[in-house]
C-alpha cells in the first residue's frame, strides 16, 4: 500500500487498475477527462483503451465488452450521459456479465458545462445502482468495490463523482494493481441480449426484483450509514457530507448516503428517531424526496423549504447557512457580508495567442457582418462569444441543426455556424446530412485544429493517432462532407487572411449548404510538437494607435502609451500583420 498525493480522477483510474479493468472507452469532457487520460498513460496494466467519437458509441462499446465477461469502464460527463441515455435504459434490462461501470461526472455550479443536471436521477430512472463518492479516498475505494457490485447483481453501476471530487487532490492510500487477466468470450443468450418485447417484459420484471436486495446490500457494504447522537439529524450525500462533517456539532446525528437505491426501511429507521431532519445535498433533491416519503411526524428541511439552494455547489459556509436556516447550531465561524473587491477588470478565459479560431471568427464576421446569424457548439471556440461570433450554444453537435432550423424557418439573414472537428464527428455529421438533404441555406465552418483541445488535447479520428498514440489513418473531413451531399467544400488556412475572406465571400454568394474547413493545428499542440514560428513586432513609428489589432483580442497584443505592442506570448501566426491598416506589424528578423 502506498500513500500518494493524487487528483480524484487519477485515484479513480488507479482503482480501476486495482480492480483488474480490461476495457475502457470514453468521450472527453471536464470534469471526467483525466480518468481515461490517466489509464492510457499508466504502464502497469495492459488492456484496451479508446477515445470514442461520442458517449453513445463509447457506452455501447464498453457494454459489448462487459457482455463478454471482461471488466469494462465507460467515462463521460453528466451532459454526455444524455447522449448515451438510449443504451443506458436498456442495458439495465440486459444486465452484464463482467463488471460494467458508467462513470458520469457531475458539475455543480457548471464550472465548465452547459447545465447542472444530476446523474443520480438517471440511475434512478434506469433502476441501476449509483455510487456517489464524497472525496478522493472514497472515490478510490468505491470504484474498487463497484466492479464486484456490478458482477454480484449483473447490473451496470453508475459512478457519479462531482467536480470537487474529480478535480481535487488529497493524500490517498492506494492498493496493488491486479495482475490477473480475463479474455472476453461472448456466449449467445438471445433471451438476455435481444430485447424483443417478449424478452423485454421478462427482463423488466427481473430488474425490478433485484431492487430490494440491492438496496439492502448497499447498507451492508457500508456505503449508506448513520450514527445517532440526538434528536436532530442531518442526512447528506456526496461531497456535501464533507462540509457537514466539518461543521456538525457533537450532539447532532449524521446519516451519509453514498449509494442508491436507498433502503427505505433503513432510512425510516433513522428518520423516525429524530424530531428534525436537514437534508444537505448538491444538485437535485434526490435524497430529500425519499426522506420526505418515509418521514411521518419528523420535520424535514432541505431544498424544498429553501434551506439548501437548488443551484450551484456547496461549501462549508453555505452548508453552515443551511444549518442556520434550519435552526441547527454549527461549529466554525463564517463571516457574513464579505464582498469581493469591485471595479477590477475581469480576466475570463480567452482563445490563445495565435489560435486559428480567432482568425476564422474575425474573417467570418468581416464578411457576414452583424446581420449574420452565428450558431456555435461546444469547445474552446465557444469563447468566440467574446468576438461577437457566437449567437447560440446548446449541446454537442447542435450548431448545424439549430442553424438549419433557423434557415428553414425562413430567416433570410445568412446563417453561419461553427463547429470543431471533434464535435463534428461526435454528433455534427448527422446534422450536416440532414441539412444538405433537406435543402438548408447555410454555411458550416468546421474549426479544424485536429484535436479535442478544450478537454486536454485528446485525439479523435481526425488526429491520426489513437488514444494509445498508435498511428491510424485520419479521416478526410472533405470527403466525408461531400459524401453527406455537400458540393461546396473548401479548405482554408486561418493564418491566410486574404484567402479566408475570399472564400467566405464565395460561400455567401452560393445557395445551399456550404462547408468551409478552417485547418490549423491547435497552438498548444503545435508548440508541444516543436513547431516554431517567428515572433511579430509593432513598428511604433508606423503605428497610428488606431486600435484595430488590439480589438482583434490576441492576448499577445497590448496597448502601451497609445501604441500597440506585442509581448512574448506571440506565437507568430501573422494574422495581426494582415489586419493592421498601416502595415505596422512585421515579423521579427534576427540579426
Amino acid at each position: 500500500m502506498a500513500v500518494r498525493y493524487m487528483l480524484g480522477n487519477e485515484a479513480i483510474a488507479h482503482a480501476c487498475v486495482e480492480a483488474g479493468i480490461d476495457f475502457a472507452s470514453g468521450y472527453p469532457g471536464t470534469p471526467s477527462s483525466e480518468v481515461v487520460d490517466t489509464l492510457r498513460r499508466q504502464k502497469v496494466r495492459d488492456f484496451y483503451i479508446e477515445w470514442s467519437v461520442n458517449e453513445k458509441v463509447a457506452f455501447e462499446n464498453a457494454l459489448g465488452a462487459a457482455w463478454t465477461g471482461v471488466r469494462s469502464l465507460v467515462t463521460m460527463k453528466h451532459v454526455g450521459l444524455n447522449v448515451a441515455a438510449d443504451p443506458l435504459m436498456t442495458s439495465a434490462y440486459t444486465g452484464v456479465k463482467g463488471g460494467f461501470i458508467i462513470l458520469s461526472a457531475d458539475d455543480p455550479y457548471a464550472h465548465s458545462s452547459q447545465n447542472e443536471q444530476d446523474s443520480r436521477v438517471y440511475a434512478h430512472f434506469a433502476r441501476i445502482p449509483c455510487l456517489d463518492p464524497a472525496g478522493v479516498q472514497e472515490a478510490h475505494d468505491m470504484m474498487a468495490a463497484a466492479f464486484s457490485l456490478s458482477e454480484e447483481f449483473s447490473l451496470p453501476v453508475l459512478f457519479r463523482p462531482t467536480t470537487r471530487v474529480c478535480h481535487s487532490k488529497s493524500d490517498v492510500e492506494l492498493g496493488e494493481p491486479a495482475d490477473d487477466r480475463r479474455k472476453g468470450i461472448f456466449e449467445k443468450d438471445p433471451k438476455q441480449y435481444v430485447v424483443i418485447p417478449a424478452h423485454t417484459r421478462i427482463l423488466h420484471k427481473k430488474l425490478n426484483e433485484k431492487q430490494a436486495a440491492l438496496a439492502k446490500r448497499l447498507v451492508e457494504l457500508g456505503f449508506n450509514r448513520y450514527e445517532i447522537k440526538g434528536k436532530t439529524g442531518i442526512i447528506t450525500s456526496g461531497i456535501a457530507s464533507e462540509y457537514v462533517n466539518e461543521i456538525v456539532p457533537g450532539d447532532v446525528s449524521v446519516a451519509k448516503i453514498g449509494a442508491y437505491p436507498i433502503d427505505e426501511e433503513w432510512l425510516a429507521g433513522f428518520v423516525s428517531k429524530h424530531e428534525t431532519i436537514l437534508v444537505v445535498e448538491e444538485c437535485a433533491p434526490v435524497v430529500e424526496e425519499v426522506v420526505r416519503q418515509v418521514a411521518c411526524g419528523t420535520v424535514v428541511h432541505g431544498k424544498k423549504d429553501g434551506c439548501v439552494p437548488y443551484e450551484g455547489e456547496l461549501d462549508p459556509a453555505s452548508t453552515a447557512a443551511a444549518f442556520e436556516k434550519a435552526g441547527i447550531p454549527y461549529n466554525g465561524e463564517f463571516p457574513e457580508d464579505i464582498s469581493p473587491a469591485e471595479g477590477l477588470p475581469p480576466r475570463p478565459p480567452i482563445l490563445c495567442a495565435g489560435c486559428g479560431h480567432r482568425a476564422t471568427f474575425y474573417a467570418m464576421k468581416k464578411v457576414f457582418g452583424n446581420k449574420g446569424i452565428y450558431p456555435s457548439d461546444i469547445g474552446c471556440y465557444t469563447l468566440g462569444l467574446q468576438l461577437g461570433a457566437v449567437d447560440t450554444t446548446i449541446c454537442m453537435g447542435a450548431s448545424i441543426t439549430i442553424g438549419s432550423g433557423i434557415s428553414n424557418a425562413g430567416d433570410e439573414n445568412p446563417v453561419v455556424c461553427t463547429i470543431g472537428d471533434s464535435t463534428f464527428l461526435h454528433t455534427g455529421i448527422q446534422g450536416l446530412i440532414n441539412a444538405a438533404y433537406n435543402g438548408a441555406n447555410m454555411t458550416v465552418v468546421i474549426l479544424d485544429n485536429r484535436i479535442t483541445a478544450m478537454t486536454g488535447h485528446q485525439p479523435n479520428p481526425n488526429t491520426g493517432v489513437t488514444a494509445m498514440g498508435d498511428p491510424s489513418p485520419a479521416i478526410s473531413l472533405e470527403a466525408l462532407c461531400r459524401t453527406c451531399g455537400v458540393s461546396f467544400v473548401e479548405t482554408i488556412d486561418p493564418y491566410d487572411y486574404v484567402t479566408m475572406i475570399e472564400t467566405f465571400k464565395r460561400a455567401k454568394e452560393t445557395a445551399g449548404v456550404k462547408v468551409i474547413i478552417s485547418r490549423q493545428p491547435c497552438v498548444i499542440d503545435a508548440r508541444r510538437r516543436g513547431i516554431k514560428r517567428k515572433h511579430y513586432f509593432v513598428d511604433t513609428e508606423t503605428c497610428t494607435g488606431c486600435g484595430v489589432c488590439v480589438k482583434y483580442g490576441c492576448p499577445a497584443i497590448e496597448f502601451i502609451d497609445g501604441k500597440a505592442s506585442i509581448n512574448s506570448l506571440c506565437s507568430g501566426c501573422g494574422v495581426c500583420a494582415d489586419i493592421c491598416p498601416q502595415g505596422a506589424i512585421r515579423p521579427e528578423v534576427k540579426r
Partner: protein, 195 residues
C-alpha cells in the same frame, strides 16, 4: 473546528500555480500530514484567472470559504486583490508585484488599475509584495517565478522549508533543478526582508 491551515494560490493560467500547489501537497505528504486541495481546471491554459485551494492537515472537503483563509499566495497583484475577500482577519497575503494586464481591458477599453491603487486596496491586510521577476532573473530563468513565490511564502507556511525544497528538486524538470533550487532560496531571502 477543523484545525487545518487553509491557503489559496491564485494567478493567471500558465503561471505555474498548479506546480506550486503540487509541491506544497507533496511536501505535506513527506511530513506524513494530510492535505486536501481543489483546483480550477480545464480553462487554465487560456489566460483566465485561476485559483487553487489547499488545506494543510485538512480532513474534510477541499473548499475554503470566503473570509476563512490563513494565507493567499498570488502570482499577480491584480489577482491578489480579486481573491483578497477569502482572507480571514489576521491572514497574510504574499503577492508578486507585477500585473498581467487582462486582454479584456484592451478589447473593452476598461481601465487597468495601477499598481499603487492595488497596493492601496490591500493596505488593510498583512501583505508581502515580492519582485518575483527580478528574483527569477537573478536565479537564472524568468520561468522560475512560481518557485520564487513559494520560497517567499515559506515563512508563514506551516511546512518545513527543507521539505518544500526537496520536493521542488523532485518535481521540476531535471535540467532546471539548479536554477529552481536557487530561485527557492532567493524567494526565502526576499520573503524574509519583508516587515
Amino acid at each position: 473546528m477543523t484545525g487545518s491551515y487553509d491557503l489559496l494560490i491564485v494567478g493567471v493560467g500558465g503561471q505555474g500555480t498548479i506546480l506550486a500547489s503540487n509541491i506544497i501537497g507533496e511536501a505535506c505528504l513527506s511530513e506524513g500530514r494530510t492535505v486536501r486541495s481543489a483546483e480550477t481546471h480545464g480553462m487554465s491554459q487560456r489566460g483566465g484567472s485561476v485559483e487553487t485551494h489547499i488545506r494543510i492537515d485538512g480532513k474534510y472537503g477541499p473548499l475554503i470559504s470566503p473570509g476563512t483563509a490563513d494565507l493567499i499566495i498570488s502570482f499577480d497583484l491584480l489577482e491578489a486583490v480579486r481573491y483578497s475577500h477569502f482572507l480571514k482577519k489576521g491572514g497574510v497575503i504574499v503577492s508578486g508585484k507585477d500585473i498581467v494586464v487582462p486582454t479584456s481591458t484592451f478589447q473593452q477599453g476598461l481601465e487597468v488599475p495601477s499598481r499603487e491603487s492595488l497596493e492601496e486596496m490591500l493596505s488593510g491586510t498583512e501583505c508581502y509584495i515580492i519582485d518575483a521577476v527580478s528574483a527569477a532573473l537573478e536565479a537564472g530563468n524568468m520561468l522560475s517565478q512560481n518557485i520564487v513565490m513559494l520560497g517567499a511564502a515559506s515563512h508563514p507556511l506551516p511546512v518545513k522549508p527543507g521539505s518544500l525544497l526537496e520536493v521542488v528538486k523532485k518535481l521540476v524538470p531535471p535540467k532546471t533543478v539548479e536554477i529552481n533550487s536557487k530561485a527557492f532560496e532567493i524567494g526565502v531571502r526576499e520573503g524574509k526582508k519583508q516587515p
